[in-house]
């Protein structure tokens, strides 16, 4: 097990290195550098001025030198300087990640229980009217991307009904302005988890030991709660963890729609303004999140289901 974790961590570091090289190459393309120079100087600049600005600030040095400098900084815990926010990345990133953490926390708290409930209710009696309705609901939610549902919810709940606010604020999170972002994200992710739970639940419900429990004369409720549920929840556990990478992309769209200035918003700002160090730091964070959750889900899966052995 330890070897498996070490191996995965090694792959993660390797991916981070490779990815940072790719991003570094892309942000150092000439048009992107010019964009950066113009943004830093309020867009009024001649071609010569752009060139001399880039020269002066060291963007024209050899690729290896620049990359080595950045890598050296990262290894000593310094992620560099954000040109967009005009402060060190180490000050920008944790704050923004914290805001997104709050958002992600509430999304998970609302999404996971409702998705499991929907999946269990529709999977325990396959083919009934309730199952059909819940399944169509799950398909509909996965088919509606956040930039569609977020806007539809804003039209319905903010413009027409006036219950919530369509614009969020990280410094003053209230029920009115925080409900719509959380709702948009959790409803989009809900359908997928619910479908996985349903599939797993309906498979378990046809298994031998559930039939035995039925035949023993146990009431349906205790068959579901005591026998079926525990085994049916192993597969969704993985799915829930693998939702994290998706949360990351979803966060970008939702934070942009509702103007919630968290990690996703910072990422868009960095990308729009070619903020090299911030963009690299954001990429590293996303690799850690994606591969880290994969690792946790694999290890957790082996722990929950002793029949599975982790192979290294």
């Amino acid at each position: 097990m330890l070897r498996f974790i070490l191996q995965r961590t090694f792959i993660m570091v390797l991916t981070m290195l490779a990815l940072s090289l790719v991003v570094f190459t892309l942000v150092n393309l000439e048009p992107n550098l010019r964009k950066l120079a113009l943004e830093q100087n309020n867009n009024r600049m001649s071609q010569e001025a752009v060139d001399s600005w880039l020269d002066k600030n060291g963007y024209r040095r050899p690729f290896v030198v620049q990359y080595g400098e950045w890598l050296g900084g990262v290894l000593t815990g310094d992620l560099g300087y954000s040109t967009r926010f005009r402060m060190p990345v180490n000050e920008v990133l944790p704050k923004r990640l914290g805001y997104t953490g709050i958002l992600a926390f509430w999304v998970l708290v609302t999404m996971v229980p409702s998705a499991l409930l929907i999946g269990i209710l529709s999977g325990m009696r396959e083919g009934t009217a309730l199952d059909r309705i819940l399944s169509i609901f799950s398909v509909a939610t996965t088919a509606t991307p956040e930039y569609v549902s977020g806007i539809l919810f804003t039209v319905i709940f903010a413009s027409m009904l006036g219950w919530f606010k369509g614009v969020s604020n990280v410094n003053n999170i209230t029920f009115e302005n925080f409900t719509l972002p959380v709702m948009t994200m959790s409803i989009y992710g809900m359908g997928y988890i619910a479908r996985m739970t349903r599939a797993s639940m309906s498979e378990v419900m046809t298994s031998q030991y559930v039939r035995t429990a039925h035949l023993k004369g146990l009431p349906f409720r205790s068959v579901v709660l005591k026998h079926a549920l525990r085994n049916a929840l192993i597969a969704p556990f993985t799915v829930i963890l693998l939702q994290f990478p998706w949360l990351l992309t979803g966060v970008v769209i939702v934070e942009k729609i509702f103007n919630y200035k968290g990690f996703g918003w910072a990422l868009v700002e960095a990308a729009e303004n070619n903020d090299i160090h911030l963009l690299l730091a954001c990429s590293l964070v996303s690799v850690v999140v994606v591969i880290g959750t994969q690792l946790i889900s694999d290890v957790g899966y082996a722990y929950l289901n002793p029949r599975i052995r982790v192979e290294s």
Binding site: V27, N32, A143, V148, L279, C282
Partner: protein
Amino acid sequence: METINFWELWGGVAYRFWPVWVGMAITYLLMRANRKHIGVFGHLLDSPVGVTGLMIVLFWLFTAVFADVVATFDPLEQFYRHRRKPPGMVELESMIPMYFGSDNLGRDLFSRMVYGSRFVLLIAPSATLVAFIVGITLGLPAGYKGGRTDSILSFIANMILSFPVIVLFYLLVTPGIRETALPNVMASVFFMFPIVFALTVLRSRFSERPGLLFPWSVIILILGGWLYSGVVFNSDPLGLISMDPNELNIFAAVVFASSPGVFRIVRGLTMDIKTRDYVAAAQTRGETPWYIMLWEILPNARGPLIVDACLRIGYTTILLGTLGFFGLGLAPESPDWGSMINQTRGFIRLVPTIVLPQTIALASFVLGLNLLADGLREESLKD
């Protein structure tokens, strides 16, 4: 301001779509008549979910085909006197109603929605097809041979997948990038795959029969080379095939983002199928590895792959919408659904209905593809 009432509005919309209804009816009847001969699509007609999905997809397909007939206005024409109008308002010069109202520049939302289907139905399926060919060409050997090929390809695929899609697009689909050779380089790599794939299919099948292999290879090389030069380098000698640099850029980025997913699925399916007896039989017969991969394993993986293709066209549609939503890559006046959502969403407070046509169009198309995939999966599991 003249307006039409609720019934005139929806009656008029239903009437405008007449070629679409006719097309859907003909397709449905043809499918019913030939249901024995069209494989899993014939079984699909037994599943209500699948038929619903199929009908939604066909609706948008025929809308894209007959967009010129269905639309009432030019999608780019701006009526300055009719900006941000609610649905059902009549345009005063032509006395044609603007069924779904107009956007912030006074363009007819109904016509824009109808024309928007063209962009999506052109790019999404073709980008998915190319992504599938790339994924299959790389996934088959990775799953079949394993070893170092597999490790390297899987590492690259996982690397691309662990990257937030939106950053990828910000780096790859910007006007600045179009000045560099990068989109053309990417496209030239990706469009090489269909040609290589077709040649490999031929070679593995006809390696014993040079009389067939040779002429077919020449035909593929000429046809493929012609399409390739037109699409990638915009230098088709006949001047028939060309692709807008914008669209080529988007195309390459979308293929890049979605082929690793296909690769993983194909690799997994191959690893599963290669343990079957018929593969062992082919190995014993002394067939070449590529013959086994393309003619034994791939046809037996088609069920899950068709289902995945339906879902993936949906994801690609969502991706294209995301691009439009972030204002990346497309011309600003382009009537694609994602850009329309982005342009109109600021006016929700003034006219709540202004965002509805494009949002509902996009969601319904993806929903249709999802239902179709569900129906196909359900019916293919029954056998």
